[in-house]
Amino acid sequence: MVKISLVITKRYKRTIIESTPVILMGSLLTGLVMSYLIIWATVGLDPLSFFTTFYQTLVSYTGLLESLLFLTILGTAISIAFYGSYWNVGAEGQYVLGMLGAIYVVMFSPLSGFLSGNDLVSAAVLKLAAILLGGALGALWSLIPGLIKVFTKISEIPIMLLMNYIAYSLSDYLTAGPWKGRYTYGYIRTDMISESARLTVIPGLETLRYEVVIAAIVVLVSIYLILDHTLLGLKIKFLGTNPTALKSSGFDERKVTVSVATISGFIAGLAGAMRLLGYDYRLPYNIGDGKTGFYGYTAILVAWLSFRDIRFIVPSAIIVSALSSFGYRIQMSLKGLLPPGISAYAFSQIFIGTTLIVYTLTRITKEFSVKLVIRR
């Protein structure tokens, strides 16, 4: 009798595909080739226009920068959580809460009344307050599953996923109810925030806002410093790698988890607040139907691609935003090949998909050897 078994063992020797940049670039290139082959097999696109489009996507960087910045901020938020084994899949919800906090401050809080003047100082105070409240609400939203995890040992992952939907519903409730706009022409949505409360557009780079650029740099650098140069950073890393050692060194594991949850949620909330003040200017109804751009989920890919290494956040964010932007651009080349009236949209997600599959496979083979054993 033939017996087939799949033997998976953890590697103890190094393999050639050991280094992160090699895996990252390798996955990207293999993923691109694979998705090209899929497209070629289905509609027969010529390689030249495929790779030219990819090149043009990278060259026209202004379109990329906007999503790059948000993915960097959110990717950092998720990464620091991953460091401390706090699986923050709830960044999407924290991001929405950040939006709610920001719009509350600039539109509905008592602060909005007496700061509504046009002078720069009061506008700056208003914006800062909005961003901070957004961050605080994000932190609070992340703290709930954090505390549940700490005190009841219930996994934070399902709770966070559910809380993302609660955040959507909360936003929709406010948008359709107490915050419903007056100048929306019957639409269910809030009014737009006033001009003075909006973030500053960078002249020449209209897709960017000064505040967001600064925030991305500050967040990235400070998280890097926290992780590598503070006791908290050490404790977080300990928590992620060897929680027993953390406990036996006399530290309270629970306090570390709570601080990781707070920091992570705060940054995600910050991103949401900035999105609202800098780009969206209002809350839409049915926000869960992709109106957040699903940044909170996409950023998980960024954190995952970066190997939980802060230095790789930006390269990973570049790859993810380039691939999604590429997905849009390739629609143009594809539409001539598809029968008229048939949607090219389906192809736009293919690149991230294939790249991630290759990446995941390489990463698994990096850590584990997989063998098919056939015995007679």
Binding site: R14, E18, S19, T20, P21, V22, M25, L48, S49, F51, T52, F54, Y55, Q56, L58, V59, S60, G63, E66, D172, A176, R182, Y185, G186, Y187, I188, M192, E206, T207, G240, T241, Y279, D280, Y281, P284, Y285, N286, D289, G290, K291, T292, G293, F307, D309, R311, F312, P315, S325, Y328, R329, Q331, M332, K335, P340, G341, I342, S343, A344, Y345, E367
Partner: protein, 483 residues
């Protein structure tokens, strides 16, 4: 646990090498294709100097590159599909001088990025086809003064931003006449995306038609509205339809949602032995429900697109003079049509043949002419009455002339005296009674700013502003809220 074993220095070297390789590959790939000429062209377009010479170019561009941005996927078979069909018509028709492209399933948040990409790729005419795109399109228009923007269904305009709309309310009225004849319970359902003035107008027109016939047949016509809060949400639409059928007990449904989901739902009900009749919306959806689709509303955006592009090509429209361009095309222009199916030869099936005998059997009195007539003939008579208004189309082009659209006659003196301006018939001629959906400071019309009830005196024909801002329901419409 995973930690990188590479020195940071090695990593940066590798990243730089990878970028260089990508750059070289891209450069050679780029220079090897004919498409490279396009890149050079776009550089000219975005350079700031362009603005100074634009007026000269605007006289009559040799070639036009036009792009469409759709809110849903073009596979929705409704709204976005029909816009894309319009694009395909003008692309084929004007292929000597027109090049087109499109983006589909674009959300409001990413609209500006998509516009940036299109402008950079050298597109100088951009159509944005969702009300939600209004503010962002306006922002883009100010950012790119040498690009012409046309926004569908909005009201914000600028020197280089015009608006256009093909409105279906007259077609909804015709469908309402049929609904009134076919309903057994007198309860009619309407699944609305948002209760914005456009949709309110459609619901009212449909309700007016249903009552005109239903009342004469001794039915107590009531129209129940459920608002789903999204333009493209097949699941929510079906949920709402199910609620209307199972809980409220309606047996006819019309809707404003950009997919064929409700039609498919009704067909499914038919197979289970429950008859729910539907009217297809925007696209030809007859094929999804041959047993249940009575008729529907069709749109021909190409009528407007062809007009806009011809006027750009001949230099009539340019980025300096779009401020008053506001197409408001009705049944008289052919931009909208009654029907749910387009035959292979391009002609329209106005009413599903399955329902024609039923509609011919039911006889009612025409409240205008006073004679007895079958519902089918009444639909055709009204259709003709709203089709004929030769001078109206000229007035429907500009925001400056809309106020003349509801003039029934103009006195030109001499022996001719009265010259017919507007259509012979319109559903929105008083007497009409209604209640305000939006009141006080939330209201859009003068009626609802003053009171929460509306009463249009007999013989008064609502004007463009009344229709455009409609914030009140006729009294037999019941709003059931959001689902």
């Amino acid at each position: 646990m995973v930690y990188p074993v590479v020195e940071p220095r090695t990593m940066y070297v590798l990243v730089i090498i990878a970028v260089l390789i990508a750059g070289f590959v891209g450069y050679f790939a780029g220079s090897a294709t004919t498409g490279y000429a396009t890149v050079t062209e776009f550089k000219t377009v975005v350079s700031p100097t362009t603005i100074t010479y634009y007026p000269a170019v605007a006289v009559s561009p040799e070639k036009i590159r036009a792009a469409w941005i759709y809110v849903g996927p073009i596979g929705d078979l409704g709204w976005s599909y029909m816009h894309d069909l319009g694009r395909r018509v003008v692309e084929s028709l004007f292929k000597q001088w027109l090049e087109t492209t499109y983006y589909e399933a674009v959300s409001e948040a990413e609209l500006l990025s998509r516009i940036d990409e299109l402008v950079r790729a050298g597109y100088t005419v951009i159509f944005t086809t969702s009300f939600e795109f209004m503010e962002k399109t306006y922002e883009a228009a100010k950012k790119y003064p040498n690009v012409m923007f046309f926004h569908c269904s909005g009201y914000m305009r600028w020197d280089n931003m015009g608006t256009y709309f093909a409105d279906l309310y007259q077609v909804y009225y015709l469908n309402g006449l049929m609904a009134g004849a076919l309903t057994k319970t007198g309860k009619i359902g309407y699944v609305a995306a948002f209760t914005i003035p456009e949709v309110i107008r459609h619901i009212n027109a449909f309700a007016i038609g249903a009552k005109e016939v239903g009342e004469q047949l001794g039915k107590n016509i009531e129209v129940y509205v459920v608002e789903i809060g999204a333009w493209f949400a097949p699941d929510k639409a079906v949920d709402a339809a199910r609620y209307l059928v199972d809980v409220v007990g309606v047996d006819v449904i019309a809707f404003t949602e950009d997919s064929s989901a409700i039609v498919e739902y009704a067909q499914e009900q038919y197979k289970r032995g429950k008859e729910v009749y539907v009217f297809s919306h925007y696209g030809p959806m007859y094929e999804f429900g041959p047993d249940v689709v009575v008729s529907g509303q069709l749109v021909r955006w190409e009528v407007i697109y062809a007009d806009i592009l011809t006027k750009i090509r001949s230099g009539v429209l340019n980025p300096l003079n779009l401020r008053n361009v506001d197409y408001w095309y009705l049944l008289n222009t052919g931009a909208v049509e009654l029907g749910a199916h387009v035959f292979e030869n391009g002609t329209v099936m106005m009413v599903n043949p399955k329902f024609v005998p039923k509609l011919r059997e039911v006889v009612v009195k025409d409240r205008l002419a006073g004679d007895k007539i079958s519902v089918f003939d009444l639909v055709m008579r009204r259709y003709e009455q709203m089709r004929r208004a030769p001078i109206l189309q000229a007035l429907q082009f500009s925001a400056l002339t809309h106020e003349l659209e509801n003039l029934t006659y103009v006195d030109i003196g001499g022996k001719e005296r009265l010259y017919l301006v507007s259509t012979e018939f319109d559903p929105f001629i008083g007497p009409l009674d209604g209640w305000c959906k939006y009141t006080g400071t939330y209201a859009f019309t003068e009626y609802c700013k003053k009171s929460d009830k509306v009463s249009i005196p007999a013989g008064v024909r609502l004007g463009h502003a009344d229709l455009w801002n409609m914030d009140w329901f006729v009294s037999w419409v019941k709003y059931l809220g959001g689902r």
